[in-house]
Amino acid sequence: MTALAIPPWGNYSIALAASVECLRVTPWSTRSTTPEIMKLGAEASPEFSCLAFKATTGYFIKAAMEGVEYGVMVNSMGTCRLRYYRELQQKILKDRGLSLFIFGLGYDGIKPPLIRHFDPTMGDFLRCSARAFFKVHAVDSIEKLAWETRARELHTGDTTRLMNACLKDLDNARTVPAIRAVSRGVPARFRTVPTDAAARPLKIGLLGEASILRDSYLNHNLEETLGSLGVEVRNFFLLGNEMAKIFNIGLWSPESRGALTRLARPYLKSRVGGHALESVAYTLRCAREQYDGVIHVSPTGCMPEISIRPILRKISQDHSIPILELSFDEHSSHVGVVTRLEAFADILRERRKQASS
């Protein structure tokens, strides 16, 4: 069977892999970038391209070396350089004598090129889409429970172990009823983790560029590191919300594009590109909902996210909410990231103490 490389996108890779089964291809996917992929990507990419570009380029190179014939890449969202990434990556592969073909996942007629090429039957297509849809929502609910539980767990590592077990079951679930059964069982499974019920962990919002937010290799395992420091996080990139935004479902939901645009309007009237508007809107929401702090992540040199940094600083002053800015590239030192996170958590804890006294 032919294989299709799907760049890692955190735990959502499980759902993405399920969605392409209708094309009668084997998904070639992992949940996070690996050091080897990063090395390949960094060597092949222009120095000042962003970390997401380097990681996905490396992924396609590795896939091509393993004999994978096809790949998919997002190519038309927003107005950042991401639009051109597919073209550039195709050229890089060609220059290296590798023959993997990358399908663009942007809007290109009612039937995207990927669907046109593999031409699945309508029944298959709908079945797989339904599976992917339910898997995305299952991942979202697992993530949310993990954020809450990890900050309160009594034995470091329990939550992560359980989370991985749940994700594995989800990956193995092949039918919609099976997926829904896994989903339904998740809350009860998380309740088995021994936690400190009295704990009032710090609450931090994670926002910024999507691939960094989602790939635990690229973000140096941000969620887990913070969780083990006793911080409850909320990662504002949830694919369930994102899908609704792309297909404009749920126009009245607080996560809809319209609602976020309205929220951000006092500070930002342009969409800028990427997830910049969302970053501004969610920072304001964190301030409104009394989060202890916000961590804004971006790849080094990310145009949209860097453009809004001064706005975030203004929000930080106006609403008195601390913001930690982290930019990542392939040289980022792990110790450096952890040091910043620990110091940031110390600041937030001290603030709380001051506020309550």
């Binding site: 890692p8 992992t30 949940r31 996070s32 970038t33 690996t34 050091p35 470091t156 590592g157 992560t160 635990s216 290799y217 140096h220 395992n221 887990e224 590191t225 083990s228 420091l229 006793g230 080094t300 001064p310 600083r313 601390p322 930019s327 590239d329 040289h331 792990h334 110790v335 450096g336 952890v338 040091t339 910043r340 620990e342 110091a343 958590a345 110390d346 600041i347 804890r349 001290e350 603030r351 001051q354």
Partner: protein, 324 residues
């Protein structure tokens, strides 16, 4: 009669610092020594020095570690508290100068600014991908000019008309210095120009977007350099404060934190660790695609702890973070 004492150890990229304080926060012993490639050995040597220098009646009741090797050293010595260097430095600065509003901390490879308001840390920034403006650079330039690092500072004070040196990038600063040297600028002017370039770089990169208010405390290894002090005073038009233990503030902060934590029974493994063969071994964890290299610290057959993984699965024996 035994007296309680608290030990702080700061192991950074360039130096290993030790501070021993009594319960009243008075410094009983302090050491600043260069890391000679092996942080464990340098901590063992520093501890040995300390053991000889202090009276036997002192009993170590708590140990704190900080610096980039804090987890490793925390496991080796048996630390009660392992703290990041930003919080440790702030603790020490606030103890000596409670009125401080800004801390500049320039070490071997890191430079940091910490913003304080009403005796509390409210913000910080660290150099990200550039080491221009840190101690290592001054070190290498001093070596190139065949000066000791102390001489470099003294020399800079002689200058009346500092030469302008391009300070954005270490490599280009060096080319510029060579160029100025070849065109005949006196050495003391070049050296002072270098100090100014470093300070300029620090203020415009690390401090970008931060509100720098006096009183400013300058600490870390580089704060010993009188040329740098002069450059800061001139650039900020205010006198920066050099605290009493400026070279070892991280270790002092770690000791203060250990004293505050005041453990009922310390985890300190005793001076015998100085004579023991402590080695590290590494293995690759294949449980996820990250494939982290995990370091295990071994005292003969006993595992003291592990570090190095991206998740905390393997971390044992050392609890990073800790209560403040």
């Amino acid at each position: 009669m035994t007296t309680q004492a608290y030990l702080g150890i700061d192991v950074g990229s360039i130096s290993t610092n030790l501070v021993l304080i009594d319960s009243g926060a008075t410094v009983l012993f302090s050491a600043y020594r260069r890391v000679d490639g092996n942080p464990i050995h340098s901590v063992q040597k520093a501890l040995q020095e300390m053991r000889i220098a202090i009276p036997d009646s002192l009993e170590i009741s708590g140990v704190g570690t900080t610096g980039s090797a804090r987890t490793l050293i925390g496991a080796v010595v048996g630390a009660d508290i392992v703290k990041n260097e930003i919080s440790a430095h702030a603790r020490a600065a606030l103890h000596l100068h409670p009125e401080a509003q800004t801390i500049f901390e320039i070490g071997g490879q890191d430079s940091k600014v910490t913003i304080l308001r009403n005796g509390v840390v409210v913000d910080f920034a660290m150099n990200l991908i550039c080491a221009a403006g840190t101690g290592s650079f001054l070190d290498s330039q001093a070596k190139r000019l065949s000066l000791s690092i102390e001489e470099l500072g003294e020399r800079a004070l002689l200058s009346n008309d500092p030469t302008t040196i391009a300070g954005r990038c270490t490599v280009f600063a060096e080319s510029d210095m060579i160029h100025k040297q070849q065109t005949g600028h006196p050495q003391h002017d070049i050296v002072m120009g270098l100090c100014q370039a470093m300070v300029r770089n620090f203020l415009s990169n690390v401090c970008a977007g931060k509100e720098i208010r006096p009183p400013i405390v300058l600490q870390g290894g580089v704060s010993a350099n009188r040329g740098i002090r002069r450059a800061f005073n001139e650039a900020l038009r205010t006198e920066v404060i050099i605290p009493q233990h400026n070279m070892v503030m991280g270790a002092y902060g770690a000791a203060l934190l250990a004293a505050r934590a005041n453990p009922t029974r310390t985890r300190f493994r005793g001076y015998s660790l100085c004579d023991r063969e402590i080695a590290t071994r590494s293995f690759r964890c294949n449980d996820c695609p990250n494939q982290c290299e995990v370091i295990e610290i071994m005292d003969h057959d006993e595992s003291l702890g592990r570090s190095g993984g991206r998740c905390r699965k393997w971390e044992q024996g050392v609890q990073a973070g800790g209560s403040p």
